[in-house]
Assembly symmetry: C2
DNA sequence: CGTACGGTTGACGAGTGTCAAGGGTAGTGG
DNA sequence: CCACTACCCTTGACACTCGTCAACCGTACG
């Protein structure tokens, strides 16, 4: 549970000229598919001047519930879980984010959820205040954030159906399909192999189940030859269509 | 199941001068607390020229799943439920909206949920294309939409905890508290009386339960003197604190 | 008066959670 | 190289919540 924070070295920000992209940003995925794609080179420079890198190890929390938020971030690699915890300790994961997603809730001082690494994760962080000023100046940036927020809302609503109306088997099948779709969006048949990005415990918190039930449903899907398991993480989807049936769509 | 569509009469759009607010908008709640508050009088005029009124009766659907969306709307009065339906008919309500909320999913051609009146509802509708052009021209409008979307995301995530981790009793108590909070946001003690905006069936679809379970939990809360019921709709919250306990926060 | 609809209540059983035991694997220290 | 430990996962037995099925009530409406 250690964390490293490395301030970007100055040489990385030397612009060759006014139009150059900061070197830290040059090969960054967020600059292409993420929100930074909306920024012009000067704006990128402005943001990168105040940005820093940070590495989170599994289980490390970036920010807890009710804490005041001083910074936002882009995910460079890894996986982050957003979760809520009831007073008695019951937990529900309400969002999973991967590179190059933006992390943060603009226009609120306080976090109403806890943000935790679900794997070793690299972040590019920047101060909240500076970022909000940049939003105000750059409609394109706000537009990207709106698009990401709308997508997250779509995802959240999709999960609500899973949480509210699906059986344990359907929940687990839905989760496997969601991961498979993330790995290989176009594939709808044939075998797909991947490593689960979450532990059983995280899967349980994500699906509103217990770890025992998750485990039982996985072995049931394996017994029924819909999937194959090697170790605890590696999954092979054997019968995509049957798995979709099992997911109740 | 009838619907009325009344094109706004021209007289309503006569601006007294360039800065006047269209008459249809003059007393509209959406102009103050809703997204139209971001619009200047000329922009408001531009939008109102293409807008129309529509009344939906209970159960009437504005737009179904998978349908292409031609128009957006503001809710003038009433209540609207956003729901998703699984192939076998299981239904989950993923959002409830009231005046002066904006209805629509910008930047997508297709609806991925069905939008249905949960009570007699009045809408102010306008064409999708025209509205998206207006968004592009007006950063203030996009900002309001972002704020509403962020709020809806917060709400969705709050519900995910309820759906995934709470018992039937906690779900029903949480729902009652949410309504009470909507009716009287500041009150945290004393009696609160209100009419449920949803039928038992809608409450069940909202909470991921069956109508029988909802009914049983309501009578249980009544038996325990946390609430009082008159008829099927009117609820009196008797012990706010105990109801919050029952909701598991 | 009959019917339709929304809601309540009861009996029962399936699906999950709870509790407990044990297996597998990686890391640590002897 | 081999115990030892810690952690994650699996499996089983059992209990309990909640869904299913069915009967019935009350009100609105024709």
């Amino acid at each position: 549970m250690k964390s490293q924070t490395a301030e970007r070295q100055d040489v990385h920000n030397q612009p060759a000229d006014g139009e150059a992209v900061p070197r830290v940003c040059a090969s960054c995925e967020s600059r292409h598919r993420g929100i930074c794609g909306a920024l012009s080179p000067p704006e990128l420079l402005r943001l990168s001047r105040t940005s820093g890198r940070r590495t989170l190890l599994y289980g490390e929390t970036l920010i807890g519930d009710e804490q005041s938020v001083q910074s936002f971030a882009n995910i460079l690699s890894g996986a982050v879980k957003l979760s809520k915890i009831l007073p008695d300790g019951r937990q529900q994961i309400v969002g999973l984010q991967f590179a190059p997603d933006f992390l943060g809730r603009p226009f609120h001082r306080e976090s109403h959820l806890s943000v935790e690494a679900a794997a070793t994760t690299q972040l590019c962080t920047f101060p909240r205040a500076e970022f909000e000023r940049l939003i105000a100046d750059s409609p394109g940036l706000e537009h990207r954030i709106l698009e990401q927020t709308l997508m997250q809302l779509d995802e959240a609503r999709e999960w609500m159906v899973t949480l509210g109306r699906k059986s344990a088997r359907e929940k687990v099948a839905s989760f496997l399909l969601a991961i498979a779709r993330y790995i290989d969006p176009d594939r709808t048949g044939g075998e797909i192999v991947f490593d689960l990005p979450l532990t059983r415990s995280d899967m349980a918190d994500f699906l509103g189940l217990t770890i025992e039930t998750v485990s039982r449903q996985l072995t049931a899907l394996k017994r029924d030859r819909l999937i194959q398991l090697e170790g605890t993480r590696r999954v092979t989807v054997l019968r995509h269509a049957m798995l979709e049936d099992a997911a109740g769509s």
